[in-house]
Amino acid sequence: MKRKLWIWQCLLLVAIFAFWHVATHPELVPPFVWDNPDRAAFFFGEPVKIFKAIYVWFVGGEIYPHLWVTLQETALAFVIGSALGLGIGLWLGLTPFASALLDPYIKAANAMPRVVLAPIFMVWFGLGIWSKVALGVTLVFFIVFFNVYQGVKEVSPVVLNNATMLGATRRQLLRFVYLPSATSWVFSSLHTSVGMAFVGAVVGEYLGSAKGVGYLIHMAEGSFDINTVFAGILVLTVFALVLDFAVSFAERRLLVWRPTQGETQPL
């Protein structure tokens, strides 16, 4: 069943591209919407040309530095955002006064659309990777922060009491109970936060930079090169999928202690 599903999924993908190809090719179907037969290709690109552009990127090696920059920005935004979210989430989770004091500010900061900060970060950090990292951090931070904050409040009181009876000091409770428990909450938001780091990186590149896949898309758009725009989008999509796989892999390795359903092995 599983293998069959996989085949069907591939067939669907091929069908989508085939439809795309036929519908945008000037000679294959009579134009029913546009007066000019090249119009469809102008708006939606042509799969053959898109794949050619991707092929040239990868074989010519032109894409690698851009991918590398995007990957770096994503990774840095994720690591810095998670660390800040974890630290501040733990702190506020454990000090009710501070969390009560800062509550409206955190809500306001989270409600604000963070993308508008991109120009400010560019002024502060320049056009290099750090302005994109900063944008990604603002996106990742809140996801991790809210998860950790909630996680700290939901640490089982019995587990805490037990650790206390086993002689844990307050510091040790933080390190051996709150931190592992909060870390598991960071991991439960891993997919979303890695995705957000990626969004921050690409949007930042798109809004102003000299490197990265977002920059490639922006440049192509400037010259109405719709095929290259789509090529960039496809590359980004595959890149995001690969990241997601990597996250799933890391998750499986790091959360072995988590109870999961249906763990028995079929004979």
């Binding site: 086993l166 002689g167 202690w257």
Partner: protein, 269 residues
């Protein structure tokens, strides 16, 4: 005779939902001699866990004093080990890491702690299960990990809240015998909570019966003068045991019914 734990006029009042308050235990006096094994039985919801939390220093009573070896208890009772009624293992730690947690908190050397932990796992019948996580163990196995986790620190006072109620009858008598053996080796003071009167009698030197809540207080104390060493499954068949059981059960029965009725009324109200 030194007194290890002494609860004096302990009263615990909780704020009830929707205003008002609920006095779970009232004016409870309970003292345990050094090396004595005391069981506390009482109807469900009467305040047994509450009293144990007070003795552990985890719950500050509304009024009353707790003395541990004559000293007034303020904060956590560092001389006691506590086996909780509900799940208390750290789910992100393997069984072995859970057992050695207390040693780690003390800053003991890791290799020595590990060896000790393996030894204790073997003593509770879990050799080879050290790298399992709590969710990979059965309920009874988790209880045994908790037992090892407590005993590895060699506390002078053992506070045990229905420790064996999750075990099947056979494992249960094995563990009870094991506990008795460990206890008789270096007489610790034990407060053992159970809802099983047979278990209470077969293990203890003294059985304390609590009334039904609210305002729970001891309504009877029974010295258990059965000879030691005991085998828990054999001693249940002796006439002396049966006589004691009848006597205590007779005193308890009305309280158990009352407690059940009150819990029902509280939930339906």
């Amino acid at each position: 005779m030194t007194v290890s734990v002494s609860l004096e006029k302990i009263t615990c009042t909780f704020a009830a939902k929707g205003g008002g308050s609920y006095t779970a235990v009232k004016d409870v006096d309970l003292s345990v001699a050094d090396g004595e094994f005391v069981s506390v039985v009482g109807p469900t919801g009467c305040g047994k866990s509450t009293l144990l939390n007070v003795a552990a220093g985890l719950l500050k009573p509304s009024s009353g004093v707790t003395r541990i070896f004559g000293e007034t208890l303020a904060g956590v009772n560092r001389r006691a080990g506590y086996m909780f009624q509900s799940e208390a293992l750290m789910p992100w730690r393997s069984a072995l890491a859970n057992v050695t947690a207390g040693l780690e908190f003390r800053g003991e050397d890791w290799t020595a702690a590990r060896a000790k932990g393996e030894d204790w796992l073997a003593r509770v019948g879990l050799a080879g299960f050290g790298d399992r996580y709590p969710h990979q163990l059965s309920g009874g196995m988790r209880k045994r990990v908790s037992l090892a986790q407590m005993l590895i620190l060699d506390p002078q006072i053992l506070l045990m809240d229905e420790p064996f109620s999750a075990l099947d009858v056979q494992t249960r008598s094995l563990m009870e015998n094991e506990l008795l053996e460990l206890w008789s080796a270096d007489r610790k003071s034990v407060i053992f909570i159970t809802h099983d009167l047979e278990e209470a009698i077969s293990l203890s030197d003294r059985v304390v019966v609590l009334s039904a809540g609210p305002a729970t207080h001891p309504i009877g104390e029974y010295a258990i003068d059965l000879p030691r060493p005991r085998d828990v499954s054999e001693i249940r068949l002796t006439p002396a045991f049966i006589a004691l059981h009848d006597k205590i059960w007779h005193a308890m029965k009305s309280e158990v019914l009352k407690g059940y009725q009150q819990t029902r009324n509280r939930t339906s109200a």
